[in-house]
Symmetry: C2
Subunit: 168 residues, 2 copies
């Protein structure tokens, strides 16, 4: 993995087309995003940069992520939480996600049959799709095995009185 230099120049092309500039902050972020891997949150990225002693403000993180999404270098996804996650995009690496509600694991998959069927549905509705987002929530294999052991004892954890938080 040649440390993201390819993506930085792709980003620069995009920026120039828009009359924007490539700054040291922007390339530092791009480098971080493409060197590490996986589904990260905006504030997590902020924290990682801080750890590396690269000073970048929160505003710039958000602004740059927005630009990266627009340029197609980064994808913004929902993973069943109430804030966004981001992931870098390598060429033609589209996929969707299975998300384990027990351990939080994220399993990526790509299925051409599924994708094709979605397009058929759009055609039927005369809808021009630009992108989509599919999350399947459930329990992963590892968690299912563990759960099968009659582990009933800790199931009766009623947390707090009142209507909320029925059983964790």
């Amino acid at each position: 993995m040649p440390t993201a230099e390819r993506e930085i120049s792709r980003f620069q092309v995009f920026l120039q087309q828009q009359g924007l500039k490539l700054t040291s902050e922007r390339s530092a972020l791009l480098r971080e995003i493409f060197e590490t891997h996986y589904h990260f949150e905006a504030d997590e990225l902020l924290f990682r940069m801080k750890e590396k002693n690269v000073k970048i403000s929160r505003a710039t993180i958000y602004r740059t992520l927005e630009l990266l999404v627009k340029s197609g270098l980064v994808r913004r996804v929902h993973l069943g939480e109430d804030h966004y996650h981001y992931e870098h995009v390598r060429r033609d690496s589209h996929h969707d996600h299975l998300i384990c509600t027990t351990c939080g694991a994220v399993i990526e998959f790509h299925d051409p049959v599924l994708e094709a069927r979605q397009l058929e549905i759009c055609a039927k509705k005369r809808f021009t799709a630009t992108f989509h987002n599919l999350q399947i929530l459930g329990v992963c294999d590892a968690c299912r095995r563990k759960g099968e052991q009659p582990d009933a004892p800790d199931r009766v954890k009623m947390i707090q009185v009142g209507a909320l938080n029925l059983r964790k």
Copy 2:
């Protein structure tokens, strides 16, 4: 539409199973949710209740929506915005959404072939799905027609300086 009384008693059954109570606030909300139709936001519901001079606090709105989601009477969905939307659930009315990024229209669809394929994928990955959420973003038929007219003039609306808000 017999004004949601059926759903209220379904909710009461759920509440009793959990040792919870049916209050006037809860049934008022359920009535509002099942009488009107479509994809609403929590604060929008708060506003509608205020308009009708039914005093219900924001905390109770959120708490009740959480209960309704747990009971299966209401579904919480992402529609490509950065907060949740809710919709009431009639029996076996599962569907997913096409969302027009131009006019905000939401088109519902249900496709057994698509659903079946998702299950196959999960089986292959040994993943036990409990629910899913598919949003297809794009341009609806009406907006596409309008957009085809060479309406270029207002396309060059650069809003604000700087990197953000490239073109609205």
